[in-house]
Subunit: 343 residues, 2 copies
DNA sequence: GAGGTTTATGTTATCGGTAACAAGCGGCTG
DNA sequence: CAGCCGCTTGTTACCGATAACATAAACCTC
């Protein structure tokens, strides 16, 4: 049983010899829609299974000048929304035999550059990058790669290729509009480190724009440090905001994690939500729907982003996609709940 | 700018021609520790960058009979703990130029079999599988693959190769022991569909064993359906338990998600935690540390699992690992908090 | 300055598959 | 029965890189 690990894995040549046919016949036997005598094919399969033969996709792909890879970059796996997007994307591509090759850039455009360079060496058939802000070199690498490029989770002003995303600024504006319509005026923002998480920064920009548009004070803000935003940092940010602006009526957060952290801090301090303070988040994470009170949030529909991206890539492969770069705009859904008095 | 996508990507041959040298010299120019005139090397790099040359790892690896891949299977990405393990693993391997090739089996051993078969075709240099329960064919495939196999997140009775994990049953036993020591007697369990999530089933087995050992009633239980356990299903399970066994004093949950869902249901019903009911979870997810009251839980140290696995694989590659299959046992940490009166 | 060594580069064969072409063979047609 | 067709199988070259070996020039050493 404990055979020594095969130093030389079994190849088609070995199978061919054992089955008494040529390598080409073995190759054909492993491909559908090829003319091989059905008995021969069965025998080859039996011999191969018996010998523990494992098809070498790499070699086949080298010859066929393809890879069956789709490279994907996300900031981090530790975010259920990105995970959902990747999950839907993988699922959508798996049917066509495409494998997702995943990399993380930790919300850092320089790491993204290194990562993309590394991923491109695997000759993926398409590349999906999260976000629309990149280094010049990254843009050049992607532009010259000769493969479909899709930027997701954003609506870049100057896209590299295709886009499947939404406006991070826009949906926070909608959230502020909703709060203003409900009568809130002294509204604060938690999150948005401009140097790092560009989508977080976009959300803050949306907040500022909306507040100015309504003629309200846009000076109430507290950062949460490096992304991903943690629940702990949300709690700390709330403490800071209430210390500096005790009369704040509502808080809009860059993410549900921050919002939930702020909510728990309110519970500890006896601040009633939403009576004393309204709280809104972003992301429609599971916690938002179940915590007490439930959290008003924005659902960016991460699964839909992944699924639409997969559809787009398959259409491009099949040649059924319209000409030119596609921009597929996803409309995030406002999920009103108890934390803003909408329950 | 909008040049038509290169139908034929640039190869070393093209670079060689453009630089007026042979392919071999270009190959050397891209490898450290090879003797190439430094001016020539610089010129080749310049020409390559200018032409948009991208090194083809696949071809190089075919020749070198390696892949730089480590295949990893996890049940799902939608679980921060698995994500943390993969994250630490990727990070540990990245330094040696190893790429993680990730696949999801959705807590299903048959899907796992298909997945592993597919991953092996890429000729990974090692394979890491989450869990210690597999189909016979999967065991055969892994055993014959001739590469290091590591089972993680479990301590299988009959390991295929190496192991980096912990006893899922054991740590729930510890949790029950703790509750019994604190005076709780009527303890219920939430979760553990035996047909599907084998680690969840192990945890339930640990619960039953501990209860019987203490001579207590092990009949209080409610499932949460298919994994991954959701917060919603935890809330429903609590409702069911309290309907059937209103005098329950404590609830042990298969995961923090279930525990938090149960906690929110208590808040809605006016059940005080921990005064009327103690709640314990598993996983040490972020929510456990921040919610009110904070949740007693078990931290399986997912990052450490990933990091130790990476270390093991690197040692095996370097030939510095001890002979024979290694079993690295991780000791999960009990995190006592308010929900069991330990805050 | 002959012989040995180092440095820089080229040539050939090869990794494990497969496209393209070739060929053997039985059956069918006129 | 010559000729053509379809089915099955084999042969050759090649995908893009590189190990191994070969070679040419420069550089020492006694």
């Amino acid at each position: 049983m404990a055979r020594p690990p095969n130093p030389k894995p079994v190849t088609m040549k070995d199978v061919a010899r054992a089955a008494g046919v040529s390598v080409m016949t073995v190759s054909r036997a492993f491909k559908a829609d090829t003319s091989v005598n059905s008995e021969t094919r069965a025998r080859i399969h039996a011999v191969a299974e018996e010998m523990g033969y494992v098809f070498d996709v790499m070699a086949a792909n080298l010859r066929a000048q393809k890879s069956d890879f789709v490279a994907v970059t996300i900031p981090t796996l530790s975010n259920a929304n990105f995970a959902d997007t990747v999950d839907a994307l993988s699922r959508g591509l798996a049917g066509e035999g495409l494998q997702v090759l995943l990399g993380y850039d930790n919300y850092d455009v320089d790491e993204e550059e290194r990562l993309i360079e590394q991923l491109l060496r695997r000759r993926p058939e398409a590349i999906v990058v999260t976000g629309g802000t990149h280094t010049p070199r990254t843009r050049r690498l992607l532009g010259n790669a000769g493969i479909p490029v899709v930027e997701i989770w954003d609506l870049p002003a100057d896209p590299i290729g295709h886009v499947v995303g939404f406006s991070n600024a826009g949906c926070i504006e909608d959230m502020v509009d909703h709060l203003v319509a409900k009568g809130y005026r002294r509204i604060a923002f938690i999150g948005g480190d401009p140097e790092q998480d560009t989508r977080g920064a976009d959300r803050k920009r949306g907040f500022l724009r909306a507040m100015r548009r309504h003629g309200l004070d846009a000076g109430r803000a507290a950062g949460v440090g490096r992304s991903p935003a943690s629940m702990q940092s949300g709690a700390r940010a709330l403490t800071r905001i209430m210390a500096e602006h005790p009369d704040t009526q509502a808080v809009v957060c860059v993410a549900d994690q921050s919002a939930f952290g702020a909510l728990t801090e309110c519970m500890r301090r006896g601040i009633r939500v939403p009576e004393d303070l309204a709280i809104a988040g972003f992301g429609a994470f599971e916690v938002a729907a179940i915590c007490v009170p439930t959290l008003t949030t924005i659902d960016p529909l991460p699964g839909r982003i992944g699924a639409r991206t997969a559809e787009l890539l398959l259409a491009l492969r099949a040649g059924t996609a319209p000409d030119g770069p596609q921009t597929i705009s996803i409309t995030p859904a406002l999920r009103l709940a108890q934390s803003t008095g909408d329950g």
